[in-house]
């Protein structure tokens, strides 16, 4: 994967996309940025603008209203850009999977590279997931 991906792996700037979540995962993401877990040790930084982002943290269930918006946000992000699905909702739909208004095929909306399941996942789980993404970027399987 080369020299550039090693730099990318050490400087991941994350952008938080709330795709109609129940807010539980978002609170856990904010926990991740507090002094107790301090992900700045790994060079991870929360940015406010999509143009600065390397990784999109998507949380929540994609319904027909929010789906196009998420697609638009992904199109606005500069590539190379990775998408991490936080929580059970992007992975399987959780308890909302039989609702009338959800998008059936999330993969058509946004290509998710990594799923971190859990309802909500613990901050330790998310750090483990990011470490796996970093390992893939560094060329290890």
């Amino acid at each position: 994967m080369g020299w550039y991906h090693k730099r990318l792996a050490k400087s991941i700037w994350v952008f938080h996309v709330s795709a109609s979540p129940c807010n539980n995962c978002d609170i856990e993401i904010l926990d991740l940025l507090t002094p107790r877990y301090d992900v700045e040790r790994f060079g991870i930084k929360l940015v406010g603008s999509i143009r600065h982002a390397d990784v999109l943290l998507v949380s929540g269930i994609f319904n027909q209203k929010v789906g196009p918006r998420v697609q638009q946000i992904y199109a606005q992000a500069p590539k190379p850009c990775f998408v991490v699905g936080i929580g059970t909702c992007p992975a399987s739909g959780c308890c909302f999977k039989d609702s009338y208004n959800i998008s059936k095929n999330i993969k058509d909306i946004i290509p998710i590279d990594l799923y971190i399941p859990g309802c909500p996942p613990k901050p330790e789980n998310m750090i483990e997931g990011i470490v796996k993404l970093v390992e893939v970027l560094n060329g290890k399987e």
């Binding site: 550039y4 730099r7 990318l8 050490k10 040790r41 603008s49 143009r51 600065h52 500069p78």
Partner: protein
């Protein structure tokens, strides 16, 4: 043009030296700020990784943007900072003139702010335009006090505008910081620098929580990398300017090297402490502060300097 000017500009006090030192001092800033918040903080090479990562990202130009201005603004601003650091560094380390005096330094530092305004306003983004507008107001606020502070050093060194003559005057007659007017101007100078670098409490144009980085919001890839690099290089340029004007420059022999590093780190740490202990002020509070308190104080220092104190 003499051939060593190219070396001054591109290698030693200029681009390479200031860029490297800026990236390292950026790490000091982040690490000390992290310790303030009881965190561990980023690793040593973090800013290098950030810079090289941004160089490889895609550059997006929005449909509403004025593309030529949008792309050229960060590079012109970067060139300004390289030129200023070469001028200040040549006077500090070699004791010779690079061809510019203190007026050129003041103009170039102001042009850097103008480039931020042009770059932010050319993106076509509402938040970026608001950030650019606030940058104009901040420039109006801090510019008068900054010019008065620079004039104090000019008056005290016997009305010379040349940077290396200000240093040699201090080497003969003692640093200006030892006198009443010098210490007042030095303190006001640190506050002006805080505003010029848009650090907290004066990060009104960038205001992460309301304007999401303000003028830099639409920038991505290499232009953003150069904005970040020029901002980090200001961590070198401005403290060097203050040391040059009031603290007698550097003597690079024996214990002088240690003393030089201590002087520089002291100013940087004071700036980081101000940055971490103050919340953002409103734009009217900043204008009040600079026009009602800082500028009159600098004027008093200037009058004292003229009277010889």
């Amino acid at each position: 043009m003499r051939p060593e000017y190219l070396f001054y500009l591109l290698v030693f006090p200029g681009l390479l030296f200031t860029g490297m030192l800026g990236l390292v001092v950026g790490w000091v800033d982040r690490k000390v700020s992290a310790r303030f918040q009881f965190r561990v903080g980023p690793p040593f090479l973090q800013n290098f990784n950030d810079f090289f990562k941004l160089l490889g990202k895609e550059t997006i130009i929005t449909k509403e943007a004025v593309a030529s201005l949008f792309i050229s603004a960060p590079f012109i601003a970067f060139a300004m900072i390289v030129l200023v650091s070469a001028m200040i560094g040549t006077a500090m380390f070699f004791g010779s003139s690079f061809g510019g005096d203190i007026l050129v330094v003041m103009y170039l530092l102001m042009l850097y702010s103008v480039m931020i305004i042009l770059g932010g306003a050319s993106t076509g983004n509402v938040y970026a335009s608001m950030g650019a507008g606030r940058e104009i107001k901040l420039l109006i606020a801090d510019e008068l006090a900054f010019i008065l502070v620079c004039l104090v050093a000019v008056v005290k060194s016997g009305y010379t505008l040349k940077l290396h003559e200000i240093i040699s005057f201090q080497n003969d007659n003692g640093a200006f910081i030892g006198s009443a007017s010098g210490i007042i101007a030095f303190v006001v100078g640190i506050l002006c620098i805080q505003a010029k670098m848009t650090l907290p409490p004066f990060h009104i144009p960038e205001a992460e929580t309301e304007l999401v980085e303000g003028p830099l919001m639409e920038y991505s890839g290499p232009p953003l990398a150069f904005w970040k690099l020029s901002h980090l290089m200001m961590w070198v340029t401005f403290p060097f300017l203050l040391i040059l004007l009031f603290w007698g420059g550097f003597t690079l022999s024996g214990l002088g090297i240690l003393w030089a590093i201590l002087k520089y780190l002291l100013i940087v740490v004071v700036m980081i402490i101000i940055k971490n202990t103050n919340p953002r002020v409103r734009i009217d509070t900043a204008l009040n502060f600079f026009w009602k308190y800082a500028a009159p104080l600098a004027l008093i220092a200037l009058i004292l300097a003229v009277l010889g104190a």
